[in-house]
């Protein structure tokens, strides 16, 4: 099945990718990302997702950094 995958790691990505049926959010993160899930906001179809959520055909998954803050 295909999903739209958006993230900023590596060269950055925003395109359709093919994934295995029954893939969970946790497995996708482990396959595609490095670092801790807590450092990212993971959304499926613009809604916060749980780690065990099973992805469906056509889902839109975004993994974006959290706690972007500056101080002087």
């Amino acid at each position: 099945m295909h999903i739209l995958y958006i993230n900023n790691s590596g060269s950055g990505f925003a395109d359709r990718i093919e994934v295995a049926d029954g893939l969970t959010v946790r497995t996708l993160f482990e396959q595609k990302m490095s670092g801790k899930p807590a450092d990212y906001l993971i959304r499926v179809n613009r809604q916060p997702a749980s780690a065990d959520q099973v992805l469906q055909e056509g889902d839109r998954v975004s993994i974006t950094p959290t706690k972007i803050e500056g101080a002087h």
Binding site: N8, A14, G35, H72
Partner: protein, 230 residues
């Protein structure tokens, strides 16, 4: 290799910086064929104070979705992190460095760009190609291409929609410090308000050493305790 901003982006960033006393931040949107040329500055919904700026996590995700829907790749809209400093120094703080490493460290390249209130700029490119490294970049305004006119009305509206000032705790009210001559007059005025008459009618309290108060002599030696009730 400088970081360049179009006059439009530069004017917008300056306008956003000067709209209030707080910091403000956003992402630079790069030109399609030149990723170190910033064509626009986009604010993210954020909470700001005079010394901090914090993007809302959901707003960052919304920004990614919006830009992808516009057909932009993340390397054009999510690699140049911009924020302002209220003072004259654009040098990054510890918090700035931590954020740059944590949030942008996994990208192939990213730029931290800071504009201080006094006009000083700081831009540093971090890249992961080869052994990786970092490079402080000069900042330039690129007048070589045609550019849009400024649009204060739209910029101000974007600012109002995105920026929330963090609540400031009320400061305890302090009395104004008096000059020495005034302070002396103040003391005299307080003394004049003291009503001695109120105290003249109060009978003097007995002292512990008065005989009325204690009919027994104060024991000073062991013999004095003989016959004493205590």
């Amino acid at each position: 290799m400088p970081l360049r901003l179009t006059p439009y982006a530069w004017a917008k960033l300056q306008r956003l910086r000067d709209l209030s006393d707080t910091e403000v931040g956003g992402f630079g949107v790069s030109a399609k064929d030149d990723l170190l040329l910033v064509e626009d500055v986009c604010l993210i919904r954020q909470q700001c104070s005079a010394v901090t700026v914090r993007f809302e996590d959901v707003a960052v995700a919304d920004f990614f979705d919006w830009q992808v829907d516009r057909g932009l790749a993340p390397e054009r809209f999510a690699r140049i992190w911009i924020h302002t400093h209220p003072g004259n120094s654009a040098q990054p703080s510890v918090t700035d460095e931590e954020t740059f490493a944590r949030c942008f460290g996994t990208a192939d390249w990213a730029v931290m760009f800071i504009l201080a209130c006094g006009g000083q700029t700081y831009a540093r490119l971090r890249f992961r190609a080869g052994p990786g490294g970092a490079l402080v970049l000069p900042v330039e305004i690129d007048f070589s291409e045609p550019f849009e006119a400024s649009d204060w009305e739209a910029w101000d509206a974007e600012y109002v929609e995105a920026v929330m000032a963090e609540p400031v705790l009320p400061q305890p009210e302090r009395r104004p410090r008096l000059a020495p001559a005034e302070a002396e007059l103040h003391e005299l005025a307080l003394a004049a308000r003291w009503n001695h008459a109120l105290w003249d009618d109060v009978p003097r309290l007995a002292s512990p050493f008065d005989e009325d108060f204690c009919p027994y002599p104060f024991p000073e030696t062991a013999d004095d305790y003989v016959g004493a009730p205590f």
